[in-house]
Symmetry: C2
Subunit: 166 residues, 2 copies
């Protein structure tokens, strides 16, 4: 057993796949972001109000939402403040836990989601779904679920890893 730490480089096909993932992913996100920018919001802003719109109460705890959209709590705080200024969300106290804040979608915000959703969906189709076979897409989804489960709880919402508090 070689005890030395020789680097196990990626194989040629692995290398290629990894590059495609990184570059293609960046291109996709950018395209979607620009698509939404034409309607006055960014992809991550859309994710936030869209997630809220799917709750039957139309509200969610800040930290829960931060985890869901993979943003730091601090970032969500700032973004929520901006969204609040635009009238799309409001903060409500969370009864039962006075530390908590419920970010709540306003009717205006809900209207915005409904207006944007079909547009955004078209772009997701055009750039992603329609470019893949059903099987490819399903495999992609499964793969990313694997990735997610491996990373679950990897870092908390403010960037400190679980084992960072020694």
């Amino acid at each position: 057993m070689a005890a030395h730490s020789e680097t196990n480089w990626l194989t040629e096909p692995e290398q290629r796949a990894w590059r495609a993932y990184l570059r293609g992913g960046r291109m996709l996100i950018e395209a979607l972001d620009r698509g939404l920018a034409a309607h006055g919001l960014s992809l991550s802003e859309y994710e936030i109000i869209s997630m809220l719109s799917e709750e039957d109460t139309r509200q969610m705890r800040m930290s829960e939402l931060a985890d869901l959209v993979v943003q730091s709590r601090s970032r969500l705080t700032h973004t929520a403040t901006r969204l609040e200024k635009r009238g799309w969300v409001v903060r409500e106290p969370c009864q039962g836990d006075r530390r908590g804040v419920l970010l709540t979608l306003t009717p205006t915000g809900a209207a915005k989601v409904e207006q944007i959703a079909p547009v955004h969906l078209d772009q997701v189709r055009a750039h992603l779904v329609d470019r893949l076979s059903a099987e490819q897409f399903a495999t992609l989804g499964g793969a990313m679920e694997n990735v997610m489960s491996g990373l679950d709880g990897f870092a908390d919402s403010d960037g400190r890893a679980p084992n960072d508090r020694y």
Copy 2:
């Protein structure tokens, strides 16, 4: 044929795959970014010097590099300036086209890439490659190549789409 524009929502499994892609992708990038942050650089900075290190001349035109790593020219200009301050790259005039700039990896920069590459690779393996079957990973790569080719030339490096210049 219904001429109305009713929204064709994603099917349940499509929805699930898309969400996994978005969330898993964000988690992955974030994990890799943090992994590199521990060594003093961000993922996108690493991408830049890593791409340069693979050229036999160890240099690349700004715009070509910007396209490769999917950053706007402006962003690359700023980032290159910061990398230059750290001594990892230098700008050189591009003979043959006096508009051009060749971003060039310094020996120090090359050393940094060599130092970081194995670390980064381990993280890519741990969070992505090792979590997927060979077939899943290959399919993922192929899928993202499809996405890439669909988006190729979709927007230039400063964010203006090809058909934006009317």
